[in-house]
Symmetry: C2
Subunit: 467 residues, 2 copies
Amino acid sequence: LLKKILCLSKVLDFHHPHQLKDGLEGFSLDLPEHAETLEQILVDCRDTLKYGVSTGHPRFFNQLSSGLDVIGVAGEWLTSTANTNMFTYEVSPVFILMEEVLLKKMQSIVGWSEDEGDGIFCPGGTISNLYSILVARYRVCPEVKTKGMGALPPLALFTSEHSHYSVKKSAAVLGLGSESVMVVTCDERGKMIPAELESSILAAKSKGLLPFYVNATAGTTVYGAFDPLAAIADICHTHRLWMHVDAAWGGGLLMSDRHRRKLQGIERACSVTWNPHKMMCVPLQCSVILVKKPGLLQECNKLGAEYLFQTDKPYDVNYDTGDKSIQCGRHVDVFKLWLMWKAKGSDGFGSQVNKCLENAEYLYDQLKRNSDFQLVFKHKPEHSNVCFWYIPPSLRALQPGPDRDRRLHEVAPQIKGRMMEKGSVLIGYQPFGDKVNFFRCVFSNPATQPEDIDFLLNEIITLGADL
Amino acid sequence: LLKKILCLSKVLDFHHPHQLKDGLEGFSLDLPEHAETLEQILVDCRDTLKYGVSTGHPRFFNQLSSGLDVIGVAGEWLTSTANTNMFTYEVSPVFILMEEVLLKKMQSIVGWSEDEGDGIFCPGGTISNLYSILVARYRVCPEVKTKGMGALPPLALFTSEHSHYSVKKSAAVLGLGSESVMVVTCDERGKMIPAELESSILAAKSKGLLPFYVNATAGTTVYGAFDPLAAIADICHTHRLWMHVDAAWGGGLLMSDRHRRKLQGIERACSVTWNPHKMMCVPLQCSVILVKKPGLLQECNKLGAEYLFQTDKPYDVNYDTGDKSIQCGRHVDVFKLWLMWKAKGSDGFGSQVNKCLENAEYLYDQLKRNSDFQLVFKHKPEHSNVCFWYIPPSLRALQPGPDRDRRLHEVAPQIKGRMMEKGSVLIGYQPFGDKVNFFRCVFSNPATQPEDIDFLLNEIITLGADL
Ligand SMILES: Cc1ncc(COP(=O)(O)O)c(C=O)c1O
Ligand SMILES: Cc1ncc(COP(=O)(O)O)c(C=O)c1O
């Protein structure tokens, strides 16, 4: 019944920025000089939810993070009630220990041994990826911490054309410059081609650059592709490069006996990004960076501020983990994940992941047998991403070529616009390389059922019939 | 009554890491293979709170963030129920507009004109400070984004010896190196000495460094000092340097008609860090970076990932603010602040700040008249920090000197240890420069009353009587 109600309710009630700013039905965003009444506060809350987007709706397919786990939300509620900070054991005894337990668990799931492994929770996969480059750079040259980039020759790092933009962004932030990122070609399925990585490394060396870091993606953002980790690990070994695995999106598959083989080789990584707030459906934000070599994070980031990290405290100050972080105050992101793990167990997470991947296969099967749609690549999905075009009636007779492409490019944005106005379902689209705008459907909400997928396809057909 | 109960309840129920890890009274941190029962989940939640620290307790004086604002917590609860992401208008229409409204408001409170001002909410004051250096570096040389630090001569930045360690940490992260940070001497009250800044700039220039950035602190972490902003602005103007004001802690005073003059000159800053999660008692995390020149943040950080920031969307894509950020996914930190502002009004925040500063004055007055205590500096507090030593009976007859210092240094940690065991009250301590360990009391919890302050002093006297 709840499901019925949810599906009848809208995913969003779209308004343009100027409409919301003008104050819809008395909903004013303005900040008052004097206090409002409590009744008005409740109305404000109701309106905020009303004009927002239901990311927990089973028909929200727009983003990698979706769903609304009740235990996860309860965990976040308790966290905000505790309202504390992760910098010291003194003010977060329980949460600091939970972080240790979870990091150890995740490290063992990655496949590292008992005496390996370190890490920290941080605000998102982008910051996790930034940490990996930061620590890798420090390993090459610890002097960089005090002397800056001047202590180093020009560096080169490597990532695939399908990898997340956070690698480039981090290189810019860290002072390496985005051009230090060498973009490695992928196969048609979106996987990095090892031979291309190898030749890219050699080319960088011959240009006088110092290669030091490779990012391999386990679950790319758009295609959901898994880079061949073992082959990449071999290359990193040969050239003595830091191997990072960005499993922000794909890490969740490690929880599933059925799917974890797709990440084979991840145990050879020097560092791993894994976002429980994506595939594991943990409320935002929940992301970790794992580093294989213990102590490196702390050495790289430690400044030893005396007002926080006194060494004469009445407990074992190794539990003051705050100096591993590039932050000072740090939000407690661990508790909701801990609580969900208690409530589901490892195997519960496994079945949840399996279910999302079954949904992706179901969608793939539907698309294959329906000629109104065309798959962006023919292979069965490895992750829960499914990429496809809707071909409206007027385009069906056209020959492939620039004219058809130009018109096809406009189809997804138009349907998306209508979808937002109607509010019945939400899915993302983007162009990629030489591919014009296509839909990308992603599943991470366990509440989604095959009938929601049927609904999505029907809705696209209905909204696009006249295009 | 509630107040009575709270005060009788403990601030914390301290256990050492090994005690908590061994599993106290059945509280196990371990992650199960299979789901636990819902009853057990509730017990886990209860235990988590039981062994945690009550940062909202009126007798928690340990950290800059304290207190528990009921409306703020309600705001955080709604936020986690909405469980969305700040990267695009599409998935966060209401929160994106609230962010715009709040940033504009805070900019006008800083004193910038209507056509000036930009900014973003980010995960903490340290990251806010990092943004300020990142943007300032970009302004000096936009090529740094693509080419890295190699595009620039060796840089120098300036901050006071009392400033927060995040300036050095950020310089290390950004690839400038912590040694590029020139530490400027302060007066005995902890304020940067403008003449020292001036000579430090000249010294850096003569060493061939390029000065580009000055961090002035409005409300230092330990002393609560305000750097002389107007004098620093003059120097920055003369040398054409980026002036940043770290008002992470002191920004809240801008809300008070009585105290905002302490930040005079902040309107001349190029960027400002302001943490509502400190003095304004907003639940963690809530921090902004404000940048005076519009567009710079976006130019500096933009990468234009096509899967998120399509330009053919059915709404004004200027509201997709995600590319201003160094993050990708970004937690919604704005709503709780917005809701608290509705519930208190600007003037409500003002009285709340006034009250905290009255508490600090009350403590200062008590300390002055009680010879068991000694103030670290004689001046009346400008912010809500009060720094002092407790002089136990055995030290009272000793002459000032190394021997007394050595013994005094051990007093605060010992009392703190006993305090944690007892759990009745919590206050921080640290050494600073040539000053041995002293207590730092900070007030940001409006629930604290003069009687709690009396309690604190009595407790210190009781716990330290035999030292
Ligand atoms: C003056 C000052 N700036 C910056 C910060 C860092 O803020 P956050 O802990 O939110 O990173 C602090 C924290 O105490 C501070 O006191
Ligand atoms: C592969 C990959 N890595 C990293 C990220 C960044 O994660 P976050 O949004 O938490 O910063 C994403 C986000 O979509 C991603 O898909």
